[in-house]
């Protein structure tokens, strides 16, 4: 009996020692907090991103998303601007209320890429030199208000350094309607008997006065500078679009990759004159062949 009591006491003491040891362990090693902490750490990824810190993070993400969206929209605009193929398209693509901004470089590229003098009529190249001499011309802002198109040459701070207005009618001038197409003259509906090798046409072009030359043919630099090898010319037997008193003069050229045609509207009388001169030259050649044949010098 006594032995049982001592055993119970001993058990009690042992339990107390165990519990005290456990409490001391907790007290000195923070066992409980650490266990909970590590368990929570293990479960961390399963929990939602809540609270002030994550809210700030979310707002920051929203802001960055907004910035990204604005930037991609601006990039698209810039790409569209870079993709403008010609000086004429530059003005035709303007919608009222949606101004277009092109860099100085792009503007100059399009300006000098136009096959003719029309771009000079918008702004003279000397005026461009004058603008450029101030070293602040950065971009060109093009806006449309009704029948007017405004060109603002602006600096880096968007302050206009020069402004000019052109009428929408200017886009429909004869000079402005020069276009470039891929393909051959035949594919542009020129008929075979109105297509001639460039070698036949050049003597006639050289014989024309300077103004007529300009009206028919762009500066040779336009072809040479781009490595366009002119092969044939043609004169259409159909009017040049809306210009009913004009026919199309086509200049076919080969590049390393494709064949292209420059279409130049020319006044009907001028086209007919060129046509008759080419035919006359053909006839003369034919006659000289006949003479040579009569003399027995033909092979």
């Amino acid at each position: 009996m006594k032995f049982t009591g001592v055993r119970k006491l001993w058990h009690g003491v042992a339990s107390l020692i165990v519990l005290s040891a456990f409490l001391s362990l907790e007290f000195y090693t923070n066992l409980f907090e650490k266990s909970v902490g590590y368990y929570l750490k293990w479960q961390n990824h399963k929990r939602p991103q809540l609270g002030r810190m994550w809210e700030q993070d979310r707002q920051s993400l929203v802001a960055q998303a907004k910035i990204k969206s604005i930037r991609s929209s601006l990039d698209l605009q810039e790409e569209a601007t870079l993709g403008i193929p010609s000086f004429k398209h530059l003005f035709e693509d303007i919608s009222p209320g949606f101004p277009l901004v092109v860099s100085r470089e792009k503007f100059l590229q399009l300006y000098y890429d136009f096959p003719g003098q029309w771009s000079e009529r918008i702004i003279s190249s000397y005026d461009l030199i004058d603008l450029d001499s101030r070293k602040i011309w950065d971009r060109v802002l093009i806006k449309r208000f009704g029948p007017w198109i405004t060109l603002q040459f602006i600096d880096r701070q968007n302050i206009p350094i020069h402004e000019l207005f052109i009428s929408v009618d200017t886009l429909f001038e004869v000079q402005a309607t020069r276009t470039v197409k891929r393909g051959t003259l035949e594919e542009s509906n020129f008929i075979a008997n109105r297509i001639f090798p460039i070698s036949e046409f050049l003597p006639i072009l050289k014989s024309l006065d300077r103004a007529t030359q300009k009206a028919v043919f762009p500066q040779p630099r336009w072809f040479l500078g781009k490595n366009y090898h002119v092969t044939r010319v043609g004169i259409s037997d159909f009017p040049a679009g809306k210009l009913s008193q004009h026919l199309l003069f086509g200049v076919e050229y080969d590049t390393d990759y494709y064949t292209g045609v420059l279409l130049v509207p020319v006044a009907m009388e001028l086209a007919n004159n060129i046509m008759s001169q080419i035919e006359k030259a053909d006839l003369a050649e034919l006659n000289s062949d006949e003479v040579l044949s009569a003399l027995g010098e033909s092979p």
Binding site: G5, K8, L9, G12, V13, S15, L16, L19, S20, F22, L23, F27, N30, F32, E33, K34, V36, G37, Y38, L40, K41, Q43, N44, H45, R47, P48, Q49, L50, G51, R52, M53, W54, Q56, D57, Q59, S60, V62, A63, Q64, K66, I67, I70, R71, L74, P99, V101, L141, F145, Q152, I154, Q157, N158, I159, P160
Partner: protein, 681 residues
């Protein structure tokens, strides 16, 4: 007996342990989904980039969301010791909860029967600051504790302490020890002295009550307590404590947000938030380039402050009236760029922007739009003669309206230019009555006025509220000879990499022909030369300028709006509670006496060192001197003459003298000059 006692004790301990485990497990299960995730890195919390706002002259005028996170090595060891000593002396020994501190806090709270001591460790405070609201409840406290355990299990003590020092609030708008050191002592956190470090360490517990700027004594008591704690925790010696107590605190003056640029900044932020959202502005890390010229803004602030101080000494007012207020907006004519915007006398006293949000009656400042409408629609010119006489205008469904002149006198026959120079109410009322209210409103809209305009004849006297912002912009159309440029505040916005996200382009629209507008411009030059705004010249402002005064009934509002070739400025002065501005003698403050001097001080400073620039005269305009009463070229009977600018096709010759017979038949017509406009009320 001992055995039973032991059994009971064992049972109690076991039950307690099981109870704690059970409670914690239950709480975890219950709160699991409400517990926030912890970031991988505590530095992540300071990644948000600040948004900076710049003026057009290159000054950084505001930084939003500015934080100065620094490494623990860059914090004075005095501060880390002090904060540990006072907030969590067993910081390096616990794992998120301080048993002793908790028992002590519970015991204190039990004894005092209120929550007198928190007992939160630094880790718990960090947990609260990062994730939880500041409301006091047990659920929040438990969540905070669990997250503190996880913080301790995830990060080392240095990382926790560093994050804490960079996050905690020190009052006076300072978050983090670096910013607090700058605000209170104007130095880096690493350079804090023991006394300064102790003061700062005492602030997180009560950032407002122990703020040294507002409660210096309390702040010093708290500092001494912190020093005492440091000594008792063996963090410093008694000698060091005494030496610190005898040293200078070197507290700097509080940084008062009285920067006058902030009215403009608020407006910029409001515009961007409206277009892109709050997050874009506050978390975008943007660089916002504005049109503000800080030099102009400073001139505006000083001009207004000096003149208002002068007026405050003269005007009769009660305490409840508050200070006399002023607003000023200056717009660059050629672009519409807002170069100065003063929304009130003192931003620290009142952040309400009176230059854009306070639509007050413009009084006679509105008359130029009425005169211009009459000239445009009715073919009048500055030389047209109108009769200043008693007038009653019937109003359907209401009492007839009888406008009065400011001086209660009538001038009789008078040319339009002179009428505007003298700001005669009757003439303005007659003109709106003849031309029609709708047409006047349409004209005002073309000038860029967007506020609601009342459809009643008193509109002619400026009874519909306008803001200085829109008045300055509208007057710039006159200075621009008809070109309206939408006023704007933001030049462009860049992201943190320098990519442009927004750009302002000029949208100048020719609203009126220059030859139509120039006569009005010339009339307004007359106001400044010899009219109600002649104080401008008397004060020595010599640049070519035009303008118009405005004073409303009972002297509640005083305006002066004027322009030079390059800049248009609108100034308003008044009380916020619409109380009349009267001197002790009973004399009221007018646009000329209250607002025009501010305009002159400001414009003189803005144009200092610049050559006077004349307004260009358009083609088809001629200048002539005419008789004030007949509007024709003067003759030997002319008493008073005036120079007018009229369109070339305006005939200023008097009609030929009639024969006697004709005279007899047409006596009635000759009773007034042929140029006189018979306006029927």
């Amino acid at each position: 007996m001992i055995g039973r006692l032991l059994t009971a004790l064992n049972l109690f301990l076991l039950t307690s342990i099981l109870l704690v485990v059970l409670v914690v497990s239950s709480l975890y299960l219950g709160l699991n989904q409400d517990l926030p995730q912890l970031p991988q890195n505590l530095q992540h919390i300071n990644l948000s980039l600040p948004t900076e706002i710049y003026s057009s002259d290159g000054e950084r005028i505001k930084i939003l969301g500015e934080r100065h996170p620094i490494a623990l090595e860059d914090i004075s060891h005095f501060f880390t010791k002090a904060i540990i000593g006072v907030e969590d002396s067993r910081f390096y020994r616990h794992s998120g909860i301080d048993h002793r501190g908790l028992v002590r806090a519970l015991w204190t709270n039990f004894r005092q029967k209120r929550i007198a001591q928190g007992g939160s460790t630094i880790t718990q405070q960090l947990s609260k600051n990062l994730f939880f609201s500041f409301e006091r409840n047990w659920v929040r406290k438990i969540k905070e504790l669990l997250i503190a355990f996880q913080l301790e299990a995830t990060f080392n003590k240095e990382q926790i302490l560093e994050a804490y020092c960079n996050q905690i609030y020190f009052g006076s708008g300072a978050y983090g020890v670096e910013e607090a050191a700058q605000i209170y002592f104007g130095k880096r956190a690493k350079d804090l002295t023991l006394l300064q470090a102790a003061l700062l360490a005492g602030l997180p517990n009560s950032p407002n009550n122990a703020n040294p700027f507002s409660h210096y004594e309390r702040a010093m008591q708290r500092t001494n307590y912190v020093l005492g704690r440091m000594v008792s925790e063996n963090l410093i010696s008694v000698d060091e404590k005494q030496s610190a107590q005898q040293s200078d605190l070197d507290l700097i003056n509080p940084r008062v947000e009285s920067n006058p640029n902030l009215y403009f900044v608020d407006q910029v932020l409001e515009q961007i938030e409206r277009s892109y959202g709050k997050e874009f502005v506050h978390f975008g890390g943007l660089k916002i380039f504005t049109t503000l010229d800080t030099r102009y803004q400073n001139f505006a602030f000083k001009s207004a402050r000096n003149h208002l101080e002068d007026l405050e000494g003269k005007v009769v007012k009660e305490l409840s009236d508050g200070p006399l207020q002023a607003a000023l907006v200056a717009v660059e004519n050629k672009s519409g760029a807002v170069r100065a915007m003063l929304g009130g006398k003192d931003y620290s006293h009142s952040q309400f922007n009176r230059s854009v949000s306070n639509n007050r009656m413009p009084g006679s400042s509105f008359k130029p739009f009425v005169y211009f409408t009459a000239m445009k629609e009715l073919g009048y010119s500055p030389s047209s003669v109108v009769v200043d006489e008693p007038l009653t205008i019937p109003i359907s469904g209401s009492e007839p309206w009888s406008p009065q002149n400011f001086d209660k006198e009538f001038a009789g026959n008078i040319v339009l230019k002179k009428a505007l120079m003298k700001s005669i109410n009757i003439i303005s009322a007659k003109l709106i009555n003849e031309v029609g209210i709708e047409k006047v409103i349409r004209t005002a809209r073309q000038f860029g006025i967007k506020s609601v305009l009342g459809r009643n004849p008193s509109l002619a006297l400026g009874t519909s509220g306008l803001s200085p912002y829109e008045v300055a912009s509208a007057y710039s159309v006159i200075a621009n000879l008809g070109i309206y440029n939408e006023p704007y505040l933001i030049q462009h916005i860049e992201d943190f990499q320098g990519n442009r996200l927004y750009e302002n382009y000029y949208h100048g629209v020719q609203q009126f022909l220059p030859e139509s507008l120039y006569p009005l411009l010339n009339m307004m030059q007359g106001v400044v030369e010899r009219g109600t705004g002649r104080i401008v010249r008397r004060m020595g402002f010599l640049h070519p300028a035009g303008g118009k005064t405005g004073t409303t009934n009972d002297f509640k509002d005083a305006w002066f709006n004027g322009f030079t070739k390059d800049i248009s400025t609108s100034v308003w002065v008044g009380f916020d509670n619409n109380k009349p501005m009267k001197e002790k003698s009973g004399k009221g403050l007018t646009g000329a006496s209250a607002a025009a001097p501010i305009w002159v001080y400001f414009m003189q400073k803005v144009l200092e060192g610049k050559n006077p620039v004349k307004f260009p005269v358009p083609d088809k305009i001629k200048f002539a001197t005419v008789d004030v009463q007949t509007g024709y070229f003067p003759d030997e009977f002319s008493v008073s003459t005036i120079q007018v600018a009229v369109k070339e096709d305006v005939d200023l010759s008097a009609p030929p003298v009639l024969s006697e017979e004709q005279e007899l038949n047409e006596t009635d017509l000759l009773s007034e000059p042929a140029n006189t406009r018979h306006i029927k009320p």
